[in-house]
């Protein structure tokens, strides 16, 4: 767990409960976690803290859509690892367009925290 220390993860999701739960979990796992429930604050956090990884919900209630945030984030920080979370199921089309925009992984909600943490770990270690 200590190996995760110093890794910064940014979490953007409009579901407050999920935001809190995943945030708490990642903190327990040893990451520094920044959370935002909207795109504006999320991108602000991205600029200010330059996280290593972004966990992004594809469907955001206000501001930009998940896709737009993904594009913006990759522009701001091209080497940023992005995991896209989607409540619309693991649909091939969406998944492919996210990957082509630079996302590293695509997970359908609900996803188990364990597999989430494994995905994060794999992505960050591959760096």
């Amino acid at each position: 767990m200590e190996s995760n220390a110093g890794r910064k993860v940014l979490l953007i999701d409009d579901e407050e409960t999920l935001l809190k739960n995943i945030g708490d979990f990642l903190k327990v796992m040893g990451y520094s976690v920044f959370t935002s429930s909207n795109s504006t604050d999320g991108l602000e956090l991205l600029r200010n803290h330059s996280p290593d990884l972004l966990l992004l919900d594809l469907h955001l209630k206000e501001g930009l859509t998940g896709m737009q945030v993904l594009k913006a984030a990759k522009m701001l920080k091209p080497d940023l690892k992005v995991i896209v979370l989607s409540g619309f199921g693991e649909e091939e089309d969406t998944k492919n367009s996210c990957i082509s925009l630079g996302a590293s992984a695509f997970l359908g909600k609900p996803t188990s925290l364990k597999s989430l943490s494994e995905t994060i770990k794999n992505l960050l270690e591959a760096k």
Binding site: T17, N21, H59, P110, L113
Partner: protein, 733 residues
């Protein structure tokens, strides 16, 4: 020429012509040949009269009167012979013909039969000899026997054979008119001055009988007699009035005006040209009374055939047709058979009985001789006519057809053609008021009706298919609209739950339960952990549901390549999701199995339509298993193991998918009707909300594929679908 010769001359020519027509029209019929001879004798009789009236001297007239009697002697003989042949009475005619020859001998060789001639105001007329009275007895004897025989047959045929019954009524009516009108013609033979008017009656009689023999579908007898009566009345007036006028004005004008005969001639010409109009007018007037009922029913049929196209529900349309026909035509039953292209059979689609129930066959094979016969004929088939008017030697097929139709009490079969295809036929019983066959007019109208019905049926079938396709499409669209949003919401809730649960579980893992000594707390924590794990599991089941629904919603109608086994697996999940509410009441959990090789190629097809197809097949299989389980448990076996198995295999460029279940299967009747529109084995409407198999078949046919069913009642059913893997030209909707 003596004007009194005109009537017998006209009668003679008419009877000769009628006899010739009969002889030429119905060659080969023994009875008709004899009746033609009868006509010839009558013609001889009248031509003799005509010549006799115009004779210059009694001596010449005496020669002609022999011609008259040459005809007269044979009239009763031929009639007697005709009746016995017509009624199939096997007897020798030798004796009566011999008697005839004896009379001829007396006629030609002696003056016993014809003694001399009288001279009346119209001309010479035969004077009877002492044998003449014996001849009259002979004539009466033969006539009465013939009449009695006809009456007996008439009684026997009541309700058995309407066409023949009607024919005999014609013969009886004609004979009565002829004889009662012409017996008076013998009066002048005994010195009584009466101008013989028999020609009018005899000609009417011959006309009626010939009409009934050559006309396939004779009109009702009372109508025929009315028509003939009006005709005779009008033309008697046309012929008689000028004579009367001439007789009345002659003494006054002949002195001053030498061409006095121009006046009656003019009147005659005027009357003759006005005759047809008077005739038609009178006929219309009388018939509108006599045939009021018939006109009403024809009007009703016409209205029905006009309104049929408005019906868009096939069952309602067919039901209405049979009901209406039974009522309007006063029949005992009517049934409609429609062609089913899947089974290539004509299937009983609608029937109506009034009163007694007659077991009609459920189907006719397309190569059945009835079907082939009406297909060739393209006209109504009247059972009785098959035997009455068939060529002398009946073919075995027609014989069989006749006996089969008679056994079913089918009176008439009316084909229904659409673009030269026999799409079905109407079966009619005879009328409840027996002995009235269908007239040509009835049958023409029924043909119009049945062809109109063909259009209406096509229209209704098209409409129903269109509606159910539309319903299916709107269901699909509604799902596509709603499913993504709903599943997103649902998945987010699930994500919140699962993350909370997992976080808690994680915390519990890091928490040493055993360190606690309080047993109650320990037990509680253990329970809590189990509960949390259960919740976590359920969450992922929930995710599978939304994912299956989403896949269904996102399936495209457009043709594209996709993996068929995946689609079928997903479809099965959907069936289970929608059915888990009701559950398998009495069966164990269903076994589901997909058998296919790993190297199954992707298929180019419409994912959405095929999903509909497999969904409905598996949904039906589920019902069938449910029904079987119910029966098994009633039989004391509560643990029926239901199975649905989908086998996929490849044959060249075709994927063969077999959906097999071990449910209740189909009865023969259900199996037959399987692909007819809106057929369902399911009693309640809420259950039968799925697509009809006929729409499924359409979907498969859009893929240029085929679907077939193989089933045995109580054993299960297998639906085999064959789909081309690639398509040259896709035509998805």
């Amino acid at each position: 020429m003596n004007p009194y010769s005109i009537l017998p001359l006209v009668s003679s020519i008419s009877c000769f012509l009628l006899g010739s027509i009969l002889f030429l029209k119905r060659k080969g019929s023994h009875a008709n040949i004899i009746f033609s001879l009868e006509c010839l004798s009558i013609a001889l009789w009248f031509i003799g009269y005509a010549l006799m009236y115009s004779s210059p001297s009694a001596k010449v007239a005496l020669q002609y009167t022999k011609i008259v009697y040459l005809g007269v002697i044979f009239i009763p003989i031929f009639f007697y012979h005709f009746v016995s042949v017509y009624l199939n009475i096997k007897e020798r005619q030798f004796i009566i013909y011999s008697i005839g020859v004896v009379f001829v001998a007396f006629l030609l060789g002696t003056d016993y039969l014809v003694k001399d001639v009288y001279s009346y105001y119209w001309g010479y007329q035969t004077k009877a000899g002492f044998l003449h009275i014996y001849f009259l007895c002979f004539l009466f004897y033969l006539s009465i026997i013939s009449l009695v025989r006809l009456l007996k047959e008439l009684k026997k045929l009541r309700g058995v054979s309407p066409i023949r019954y009607n024919q005999i009524k014609y013969i009886l009516a004609g004979t009565s008119i002829g004889w009662f009108g012409s017996f008076a013609d013998f009066l002048p033979n005994y010195g009584i001055s009466y101008y013989p008017l028999g020609g009018v009656f005899i000609t009417t009689c011959v006309a009626i009988i010939v009409y009934s023999a050559i006309r396939f579908r004779a009109m009702e007898i009372n109508i025929a007699i009315t028509r003939a009566g009006i005709f005779a009345f009008v033309y008697t007036l046309v012929l008689v009035i000028p004579f009367i006028v001439g007789g009345v004005i002659r003494p006054y004008v002949s002195g001053t005006f030498s061409h006095w005969w121009i006046i009656p001639l003019l009147i005659g010409v005027i009357l003759a040209s006005g005759g047809p109009f008077i005739y038609m007018r009178l006929q219309r007037k009388f018939e509108s009374r006599l045939r009021a009922q018939e006109f009403k029913s024809h009007e009703a049929l016409r209205r029905l055939s006009h309104n049929m196209l408005r019906f868009t529900n096939l069952n309602v349309l067919l039901g209405l047709m049979v009901h209406y026909l039974v009522k309007v035509l006063k029949l005992r039953f009517v049934a409609i058979y429609l062609f089913d292209r899947q089974s290539e059979k004509y299937i009983l689609s609608s029937a109506w009985h009034s009163g007694e129930n007659i077991e009609l066959p459920q189907e006719f094979e397309a190569n059945n001789y009835l079907v082939e016969y009406i297909y060739l004929k393209k006209l109504p088939v009247v059972t009785e006519e098959l035997s009455l008017y068939a060529p002398v030697a009946l073919t075995p097929q027609i014989k069989k057809l006749f006996s089969d139709l008679s056994a079913l009490k089918i009176n008439t079969v009316i084909p229904s053609f659409l673009r030269n295809n026999l799409i079905g036929f109407l079966i009619l019983s005879d009328r409840r008021r027996k002995n009235i066959p269908f007239t040509q007019e009835d049958l023409n109208l029924l043909m119009v009706l049945s062809n109109e019905a063909a259009l209406a049926i096509e229209n209704a079938q098209f409409h129903q298919k269109e509606v159910s396709t539309l319903v299916e499409k709107s269901k699909r669209e509604a799902l596509a609209d709603m499913a993504p949003g709903a599943s997103h919401q649902f998945n987010n809730r699930l994500a919140s739950i699962s993350s909370s649960v997992e976080l808690l579980l994680l915390k519990m893992e890091n928490f040493n339960i055993e360190a606690h000594h309080d047993e109650k707390t320990k037990a509680l924590l253990k329970d809590a952990k189990e509960a949390l794990e259960l919740i976590d599991n359920e969450v992922y089941k929930g995710k599978e549901i939304t994912s299956a629904i989403l896949k269904r919603a996102k399936a495209k109608v457009e043709f594209q390549e996709f993996n068929l086994p995946t689609l079928i697996e997903n479809t099965y999940k959907l069936v289970m999701i929608s059915r888990s509410r009701s559950g398998l009441d009495r069966a164990k959990e269903l076994k589901f199995n997909i058998v296919c090789s790993d190297k199954m190629p992707d298929i180019f097809a419409s994912e959405a339509l095929l999903q509909d197809v497999f969904y409905n097949l598996m949904d039906n299989a589920y019902d069938a298993i449910q029904d079987k389980a119910k029966i098994m448990s009633q039989g004391g076996n509560p643990f029926f193991q239901g199975e649905i198995e989908v086998t996929l295999s490849q044959e060249d460029n075709i994927i063969v998918a077999k959906v097999r279940d071990n449910g209740i299967g189909l009865t023969k009747e259900s199996h037959r009707k399987l692909f007819t529109p809106y057929f369902t084995t399911k009693a309640t409407s809420n259950k039968g909300s799925g697509l009809g198999l006929c729409v499924i078949r359409d979907f498969i046919e859009m893929h240029k594929g085929t679907i077939a069913c193989d089933s045995e009642y109580n054993k299960g059913a297998t639906f085999t679908i064959r789909l081309p893997i690639k398509k040259e030209k896709a035509h998805g909707k």
